[in-house]
């Protein structure tokens, strides 16, 4: 049926003046306000913007699909001449999976846990009558091989939970390719991955899209990533188009202030502090800590010191033991061996055995401000609780202290003190998390990936605030992160962890200068740069066998 309606249009995808609305509390609010989007055959368009910019909504709309509670209010969406807004559900179903495919952000959540990978891979070809099951299986194995998955012959016969995140993301790309579609929508396919894994996935996605000359819309919030992948870049802000240009022009010569501000984010740099005197007592000293979950050791002989007024960044990929080290310091996970000292005094390993004063000195700020704040308590109560618990202030005095703390985190108390967390933005919630930690007037704060759930501009605001507070209050930070750009901007010292061990540690300047430990080198080299040739150059320099997980395996 598609053949009859195909007009020889220049564009594969043509979206004109698209308005999309989302419903909340029975009211339709605009998400996209009249954006045009066109894509030629074989072209890759990068769609970037902060969260809430409407990137994913726009990407799904290009498939003629809306999530529940979302509708395309006006405008037109044509795919290869077919009007997707008036097409029947049946017609659209014949396009989806067959000619338009989708790669989701979290492959771990988007693969059905109940079926083997290959069965999910072959489903679309079989259902659309493109190939029978055995043909499609053979093709799937071939695609796994091209995407450089380990054991391509047998990996498809595993269940999703038996395969790592980076491999799943590649298997999902293979699944999208199963019917050789004309268009693939990549919706933040590497956001949930570690840097070393990301680079492998990026390389394979780019490869396979080129090999089959597939058109793609690549949605991401990471400029450096999109620079590697896209021919053209379109910038969205709160449902409006900011600007569009080909990738090189966009990077070298952005026109709009908003785009320029996105480019400038990574320029925040703290001045380097002088090294602490060698005889100073560290605020926190982690000494030869080995810790286990159940019977399995997850930290092996970890030691590092954190001095007054300084920031130690603990860097590593997921599963490297960064957060476990933090749990040992807070006493949530008593170490099996070794000890932790606060100002030269050993802390009891279990938090239940620590006194109030010891508990007060170590505070924590969490990654997901959304879930770390009790949704039923007002800001005044959330921040007031530690004020009362540790400082013994009540009534008027407590409220005054909370107001003071809110001023410190740059939220006017009069306006915010009686609000609920749901009435705040992500960045504001994270600031409340900071205020709650400050309420105890601690010496030492653990920041666990505090900026990784935030947009770049908001994250920078949080980093500046933390830096200001550190200078004013002489705080020490343990900054857990996997983002090396953040490390560059705020850390004084860096601890690199891998598989529960410290592989390298030292002052920041030394750490970012060669020679590195091989793993540090891999981490550093895997961070995408704002250069459209970065990935190509890196691959040319190192070869596909020496990036990502493959390189990590060689090290072991």
């Amino acid at each position: 049926m598609s053949e009859t309606t195909t007009s020889e249009s220049e564009f594969l995808v043509e979206m004109r003046d698209v308005h999309i609305e989302g419903r909340s509390d029975e009211v339709w609010n605009p998400i996209i306000n009249g954006v045009d989007l066109t894509l030629k055959r074989g072209e890759v368009l990068g769609l970037i913007g902060e969260s809430g910019a409407g990137k994913s909504t726009m990407g799904l709309a290009a498939m003629g699909f809306c999530r529940d509670g979302v509708r395309i209010a006006s405008g037109s969406v044509h795919f290869d001449g077919i009007d997707l807004l008036t097409a029947s559900a049946e017609t659209k179903r014949h396009l989806l999976g067959k000619r338009i495919a989708y790669v989701a952000q979290s492959a771990a959540a988007s693969f059905n846990p109940a079926h083997k990978l290959i069965d999910q891979h072959t489903e679309a070809p079989v259902q659309h009558g493109v190939a029978d099951k055995s043909e499609s299986e053979v093709d799937g194995i071939e695609l796994y091989r091209r995407l450089r998955l380990p054991n391509p012959d047998e990996i498809g016969f595993r269940y999703p939970h038996q395969v790592s995140g980076g491999q799943l993301q590649r298997a999902m790309t293979a699944m999208a390719m199963s019917c050789r579609p004309d268009l693939i929508i990549f919706d933040e396919p590497t956001t949930a991955l570690d840097v070393t894994t990301q680079i492998e996935v990026l390389a394979s996605i780019r490869d396979i899209v080129e090999q089959f000359n597939t058109a793609a819309i690549y949605i991401t919030h990471d400029l450096a990533v999109v620079a590697q992948m896209a021919d053209r870049i379109k910038v969205l802000l709160k449902g409006d188009e900011v600007e569009e240009a080909d990738t090189r022009t966009m990077l070298s010569n952005p026109q709009e202030d908003y785009t320029k501000s996105l480019w400038a984010v990574r320029e925040f740099q703290r001045p380097t502090k002088p090294a602490p005197p060698s005889d100073a007592t560290p605020v926190i000293s982690v000494q030869n800590v080995t810790a286990a979950y159940g019977k399995i050791d997850v930290l092996h002989d970890v030691s590092f010191d954190i001095h007054e007024g300084r920031t130690v960044a603990v860097v590593g990929e997921s599963g490297s033991g960064k957060s476990t080290a933090a749990r040992c310091i807070t006493g949530l996970l008593p170490p099996r061996m070794g000890q932790i000292e606060l100002d030269g005094e050993p802390l009891p390993p279990d938090y239940r055995k620590r006194n109030k004063e010891q508990l007060r000195q170590v505070q924590m700020i969490y990654q997901m401000a959304d879930t770390a704040l009790n949704p039923r308590k007002t800001i005044g109560e959330i921040v007031g609780r530690p004020v009362q618990f540790y400082m013994g202030l009540t009534g008027r005095k407590r409220r005054d202290r909370v107001a003071e703390l809110l001023e410190e985190i740059e939220l006017p108390a009069g306006q915010y003190i009686d609000r609920l967390p749901s009435e705040l933005s992500g960045g504001q919630k994270q600031r409340i998390g900071i205020a709650r930690a400050l309420a105890a007037e601690p010496k030492f704060i653990i920041c666990d990936e505090v900026t990784s759930a935030l947009d770049q501009l908001v994250a920078e605001g949080i980093l500046r605030l933390l830096a200001k507070l550190q200078d004013e209050l002489k705080l020490s930070y343990m900054f857990i992160t996997h983002d090396l750009a953040t490390v560059k901007s705020i850390a004084d010292e860096v601890v690199v962890m891998k598989d529960g061990e410290v592989v390298e540690q030292g002052p920041k300047l030394e750490m970012f200068k060669p020679p590195h430990h091989a793993y540090t080198d891999l981490l550093l080299s895997s961070v995408p740069e704002m250069d459209p040739d970065w990935l190509s150059n890196l691959l040319a320099e190192r070869g596909v066998e020496n990036i990502g997980d493959a390189a990590v395996e060689k090290m072991d």
């Binding site: 989708y102 059905n112 269940y159």
Partner: protein, 329 residues
């Protein structure tokens, strides 16, 4: 697979402990019933001597703890005891062979299991199928009609449903017999025909619960990323539900099915009475009336075992429905 085996063994052990605790509860509860067999059988004109003599004959004069352990010991060796009614009959009037509780209960229990089996064979596929369709056409007229109908049928008293069915299927259109007087030696076909009406009544009673759980469990999953992925692969709505949602919704559905099956074994007295079906429920009620403690206790223990066993099966099946446990890393 070894982990699954350990889990099953653990659950079995736990089930046995539960059964032991339940046996204490049963024994205590039964002994707390006002009056005993002697008083019940002799009626209002009982002389204290007559009561004492019957009690002595039946061993009711011993302390409850001694009686409990005697009973438990016999149970473990498979001896369910002899009905008081039978014993009393023999002592006073003499006569033939004693029929043990086990032989008394066995045919009744078989009948109950037959009725439960027929009902389950109709109700489970019907309810799950209806739940799938309701989830597929959620918020449509069909969905609402299904919900209203099943809810009304679960809200109506069982005897009322039974009489409605008798009215329509036995009186106005005589397609099925209204009496289910089955006996040994009947052919399977005859049995089935006689059992169909009570089975249909029970189907009406149990469908709502299972159907609504199936619908809710499936709808719960429809917002998952993997369901969105299936839709974006252009899979038909029916296949999205049956192949992508249902396998992940099995655990709660299995649990509700098990609960309803247990109800079919233990809670169908009213339906048995209406259709004069010789099941274990009627025997149980009759025995309570005359304080025939060995029979009451045996029935209670069988009911408890049925509950424990079915819930155990449900637990194990829900564990097995999780691929993470079936296929460890």
């Amino acid at each position: 697979m070894t982990s699954v085996l350990t889990i099953i063994l653990q659950r079995l052990g736990l089930g046995l402990v539960t059964l032991f605790v339940v046996s204490i509860v049963i024994f205590t509860a039964v002994n707390l019933l006002p009056g005993d067999f002697a008083e019940a059988i002799l009626g209002q004109g009982a002389t204290p001597e007559a009561v004492a003599s019957i009690r002595r004959d039946l061993g009711l004069d011993q302390s409850p703890i001694v009686r409990y352990f005697q009973w438990l010991g016999n149970m473990v060796t498979g001896d369910l005891g002899t009905s008081f009614a039978q014993l009393n009959f023999q002592t006073n009037l003499g006569g033939g062979d004693l029929v043990g509780v086990a032989e008394q209960i066995a045919p009744r229990f078989a009948n109950t299991m037959f009725l439960a089996g027929v009902t389950a064979a109709i109700a489970v596929p019907f309810a799950v199928g209806l739940g799938i369709l309701a989830a597929l056409f959620r918020n449509s007229a069909f969905d609402r009609a299904t919900n209203i109908t099943t809810l009304s049928s679960i809200s109506s008293p069982e005897f009322f449903l039974a009489y409605i069915l008798i009215l329509f299927l036995a009186v106005l259109n005589p397609v099925l017999p209204s009496l289910s007087n089955i006996f040994q030696g009947m052919s399977f076909g005859e049995r089935l025909e006689k059992t169909l009406l009570p089975a249909l009544t029970l189907t009406l009673v149990v469908t709502a619960h299972m159907m609504r759980m199936t619908r809710a469990a499936i709808i719960n999953l429809l917002a998952s990323p993997y369901i969105e992925m299936a839709r974006l692969k252009g899979i038909s709505p029916m296949r999205v539900i049956v192949r992508h949602a249902l396998p992940n919704a099995l655990a709660p559905i299995i649990n509700v099915i098990a609960l309803n099956l247990a109800y079919l074994i233990t809670g169908v007295v009213v339906v048995e009475v209406v259709f004069v079906y010789p099941g274990i429920g009627q025997l149980f009620v009759d025995s309570v009336k005359i304080r025939d403690i060995p029979v009451v206790q045996a029935c209670c223990l069988i009911f408890a075992a049925a509950y424990i066993l079915l819930n155990l099966t449900a637990d194990i099946l829900s564990i097995l429905s999780n691929p993470r446990l079936r296929h460890p890393k």
